[in-house]
């Protein structure tokens, strides 16, 4: 029996009982927490806004023997604008879905918390840009230990240097392969895409927008990372297909 006081971002929620809501938060100090917000669906509840997805708040959570309960909270950033635009809302949901699925309960990770918080802040400021989504994906996978190996062949360790022709990426082994080790199942990608992939990991957020990525590279990156993430997580994220539809529609 303990009371946890922490900063947290609401990821998702579902209705529970008459007027409660079971909410999944990602907190700075305790990682993913599922907690019941009693009466949060009532119009007069002071918890209604607190438990809306993407709300960043200070929370006080009572961790009992069964499900945790939200005791009280104070909003730091309501992030209302992320819920007032369909594309922003869907893109934010995609980030939330990834964090929710890939993180275990009671497994705090400051880097993931900061990544999510920063990404939502940049969405609010700049809107949804594909390069931001790709950067979030690759950074999250890297924090979780799945950083793709781009400097050496994942099979023999030989140095992989950009040259003529294409590069080959092994989704199963998680990195580039030299021409000698290439197998039929490896993906052929351009060296430009490889370089962008490396830069997505090392470039500060604000400078990401200066990266020159043409539409062919964008498509290559998008499908490569989608396959890479699906292979590692063994899941196709539900939000992704709706997000792709919205991104392809003229607004």
């Amino acid at each position: 029996m303990a009371v946890i006081r922490t900063e947290a971002i609401a990821l998702k929620g579902k209705d529970l009982g008459e007027a409660d809501r079971l909410v999944t938060f990602f907190s700075r100090s305790s990682g993913k927490i599922r907690a019941v917000a009693n009466g949060a669906r009532r119009t007069r509840s002071n918890m209604s806004a607190l438990v809306q997805p993407f709300t960043y708040s200070h929370l006080s959570i009572y961790q009992g023997s069964s499900l945790a309960r939200v005791r009280s909270g104070e909003i730091i950033q309501g992030n209302l604008s992320l819920r007032e635009d369909l594309l922003l809302m869907t893109a934010s949901s995609y980030l939330a879905e990834m964090v929710d699925f890939l993180m275990e309960e009671d497994d705090p990770n400051e880097a993931v918390f900061a990544l999510l918080l920063n990404s939502l802040a940049i969405f609010k400021e700049r809107g949804v840009e594909r390069i931001l989504l790709r950067s979030f994906e690759i950074r999250l996978m890297s924090i979780l230990g799945y950083r793709p190996r781009l400097e050496n062949c994942v099979h023999c360790g030989a140095e992989t240097k950009p040259g003529k022709g294409s590069a080959f990426f092994s989704v199963a082994q998680g990195g580039l392969k030299c021409p000698e080790c290439v197998e039929e199942s490896d993906r052929e990608i351009s060296w430009g895409t490889c370089q962008v992939l490396g830069r997505l990991l090392g470039t500060p957020w604000r400078q990401l927008f200066n990266l020159r990525v043409d539409s062919k590279m964008q498509k290559e990156l998008e499908s490569l990372l989608a396959e890479f993430i699906e292979y590692r997580s063994e899941r196709r994220f539900k939000t992704l297909s709706f997000l792709q539809t919205l991104l392809e529609e003229p607004s």
Partner: protein, 199 residues
């Protein structure tokens, strides 16, 4: 080891399938039903069966109804220029209780929730678009819940209906009547300020 006689266990099992009913509540309900008269139990079972057999979707508004079209859709006194879109049949009851709305309704039977894999195809949006064709509606009021799923649904509807020339409006967000301002959260108060009106 079986704690309950088989028919009781079966009843408890069936009740547990209902939303918001856990094993303990299911047991309590089962024993309450058993403690009542034979006729009360029969009436309950018949009410469930009758509702299941007789209730269908209204072919116009997708509300649950016994007669098709439903009484609201048949009411000629209603305003044929305004259509109110709601998530669930229960929302129609809430709207009707206000006594402030005299147009027609359309029930979506859910809301868009990408994170749960619920997209526009899972809702009665196609039926809405079919209904709007060759209709006299000029305004569509989106009265979905003021949560993230409700907002997503409202934004999606605005995106597809505005280009077709309909006036798409959203019910207001704000402070509940009788509440204290100091207890209002920042988001609700902010919305209330945005939606302020001259007095």
């Amino acid at each position: 080891m079986h704690y309950f006689a088989r028919p009781i266990a079966r009843l408890v099992g069936q009740l547990t399938k209902l939303p918001g009913i856990g094993p303990k509540t299911a047991q309590r309900l089962a024993f309450y039903i058993l403690s009542g008269s034979q006729s009360a139990a029969k009436e309950l079972a018949q009410a469930i069966l009758e509702a299941k057999e007789k209730i269908k979707y209204c072919s116009r508004c997708c509300n649950l109804t016994e007669d098709d079209p439903c009484p609201i859709c048949k009411d000629a006194r209603r305003d044929g220029e305004v259509l109110c879109v709601v998530e669930n049949p229960q929302d129609i009851v809430a709207m009707e209780k206000t006594g402030e709305f005299f147009g027609f309704y359309h029930v979506l039977h859910g809301s868009i929730s990408p994170i749960d894999g619920i997209g526009p195809e899972e809702l009665k949006i196609k039926e809405l678009l079919n209904r709007l064709q060759d209709s006299s509606f000029k305004e569509v009021i989106v009265a979905t819940d003021p949560n993230v799923e409700g907002e997503a649904t409202a934004l999606y509807l605005a995106r597809i209906l505005k280009p077709l020339g309909y006036r798409v409006t959203r019910i207001a967000h704000g402070l509940p009547i009788g509440g204290d301002l100091e207890y209002a959260d920042e988001v609700t108060l902010g919305k209330a300020l945005q939606g302020r009106k001259e007095i």
